[in-house]
Amino acid sequence: MNPFARFIARRLGFLIATFIIFVLVVFALPRTIPGNPLAALLYQIIQQAQTNPDLVTAVQKRLMEEFGIGRPLHIQFFEFASRLLQGDLGTSISFYPRKVADLVFAFLPWSLGLLIPATIVSWIVGNFLGALAAYRRKTTVDNALLPVFLTLSQTPYYWLAMILLYIFAVMFKIFPLSGAYSTLKIPALTISFILDMLYHYVLPFLSIVSGAIGGWAIGMRSMVIYELGADYVSFADSLGLPDSKVLRYVFRNSMLPQVTGLALNLGLILGGALITELVFSYPGTGFLIFRALSTLDYPLIQGTFILLISTLLLANFIVDLIYAYIDPRIRTGYVGE
């Protein structure tokens, strides 16, 4: 097997193993944490069932079914896993009788619509600005940009969102306050709807992008400064290669760790974006999770988290693929630390 395929297989195996571990954790947590509310709830339902069977609601029946206490834990897990593999993530309590899977797939696209472009844009722009600051190190450009990047990298997206909302939606009523589209409109593929959607898209998008840019810029700046002192740079210089060409070498090599960094930071960006959705009442998975957690809608919690993690792991895998392709050292089997 060539080194490339070996690398991919290893990563895939790891991600699948991680997924399985996560599913185990999601399954075990509500059922094993001492004093957990689920047990109390189920106990309550059982009591109810014994004293007044007719008062047990359909919702409660469903819950009992899916969280079947009384059956041994590993049987429960087996049932859970087999249902999972069939795509059945259970029925939501707070949105009864809608199925969890349907709910997630209804809300997920809005989150992805924000996340994917925002991540890509912030990565590209952030790296560009970082490289610029590094190249113009210790000049006014760098000295001005660096503190901005540092501060931005520590600013939560959701707080930036509040600031942006306050300035651009309250003080100067330029952009809308909430939602992904006006409440009066019905989602349809019309120009007017798309424009309305974009209009609502701007502030959430900007919040995530500005929050994420700082981190990329700082990382790229350090990388480029480091690479600029590398041996291959001075050798290429000494052979007369023009500065522009040598810089291109530097950027090319500095990008590689930034791609790895992307894989590592996907989780952070996801988390930040989800919370930011709340500030905008954006109809994405963030809203769904918030609702699920505050109402302790166990099936919904389980299902949303599992699907979210799957998406994340898939994204991780894609980034790994890209990295393996662009780093010739992976392709030719170089195993370094």
Binding site: F14, L15, A17, T18, I21, F22, V25, V26, L29, P30, I33, G35, N36, P37, L38, L150, T151, S153, Q154, T155, P156, Y158, W159, M162, I163, L165, Y166, A169, V170, M171, L177, I225, Y226, L228, G229, L264, L266, G267, L268, L270, G271, G272, L274, I275, L278, V279, I289, F290, L293, S294, L296, I301, F305, L308, I309, L312, L313, N316, E337
Partner: protein
């Protein structure tokens, strides 16, 4: 006698500024809540008042003094940040040291665990655990944060261990027949102290922000307040829409200032302890 390292560090401008900023805010929180003797959780005035002489930052929807809340929130956030960072550093250094020192199966399995925790987004794990706990005191929250933030430290410490392992002074100790533990504590750990301290500072900054994130979804501490919780209530009660800027801007500014000053501190430490890059 002040050790020379401390003296040298204080000569660096960046170090002084960032340390001053962080300590400044911290002391404001600590002494502020003593001097400004208002119970943050008691209703002391009419609800939703804008800033005035009596209430410098106004009151929230329950008539609580926002300034008192802010000061208490600073203390709380710093406490959680500190505790969570301590937990993370303990886990991370332990795993990193063991993994780096003993290669082979121990190393591979520890690194597998590390990678799994690394890949899973900490916020989601934290949310999951926090949701299932009925009571969340600051220590519990710190544990939750601490349990999910250590992987990068473990990896970094491991590489340091692996490179230190091959240095000359190690051979001396090995030849003298010293037991592993003694080698680790006497030879290797002192060399890593500078990095560990830097990692601790970064962990603290990350933990404060993580706590704020948890609180924003309503999964922060169940009793008391923190910077994140102030923001949570501001969000729930639509402070932005209603233009009540004194409610959500000060806590955010404090949080960002605390985290940024810690970040600056860590870069100052990094520059001091790492070899100079060419070109200065």
């Amino acid at each position: 006698m002040v050790p020379p390292i401390i003296k040298d560090l204080f000569k660096i401008k960046k170090f002084d500024i960032s340390l001053a900023l962080f300590v400044g805010i911290m002391l404001t929180g600590v002494f502020g809540s003593i001097l400004y003797n208002v119970n943050p959780l008691a209703a002391v005035g009419p609800p939703e008042q804008p800033p005035s002489d009596r209430f410098p930052l106004g009151t929230n929807s329950w008539g609580r003094d926002n300034l008192a809340l802010l000061l208490s929130g600073i203390e709380s956030s710093i406490y959680i940040g500190l505790t969570a960072a301590l937990i993370s550093i303990a886990i991370g250094v332990t795993i990193g040291v063991i993994s780096g020192f003993k290669s082979g199966l121990t190393d591979s399995s520890l690194m597998l665990v590390t990678d799994v925790v690394l890949v899973l987004p900490s916020i989601l794990i934290m949310m999951l655990i926090a949701a299932y706990l009925k009571e969340r005191n600051p220590f519990f929250v710190s544990i939750i944060i601490g349990l999910t933030s250590w992987p990068w430290v473990a990896r970094a410490v491991r590489s340091q261990m692996m490179s230190l392992k091959t240095r000359e002074f190690m051979y001396m100790s090995r030849m003298a027949g010293l037991r592993d533990m003694r080698i680790i504590v006497e030879d290797l750990l002192p060399n890593m102290m500078s990095y560990v301290f830097m990692a601790f500072v970064l962990l603290m900054s990350g933990a404060m922000i993580a706590e704020a994130g948890l609180s924003m979804i309503g999964l922060g501490v169940t009793k008391g307040t923190s910077l994140g919780i102030i923001l949570y209530w501001a969000q729930i009660l639509e402070a932005v829409r209603r233009g009540l800027w004194w409610w959500f801007i000060p806590p955010g500014v404090c949080l960002v200032a605390l985290a940024t000053s810690l970040l600056l501190l860590s870069t100052a430490l990094d520059e001091y302890f790492s070899p100079r890059l060419k070109g200065g």
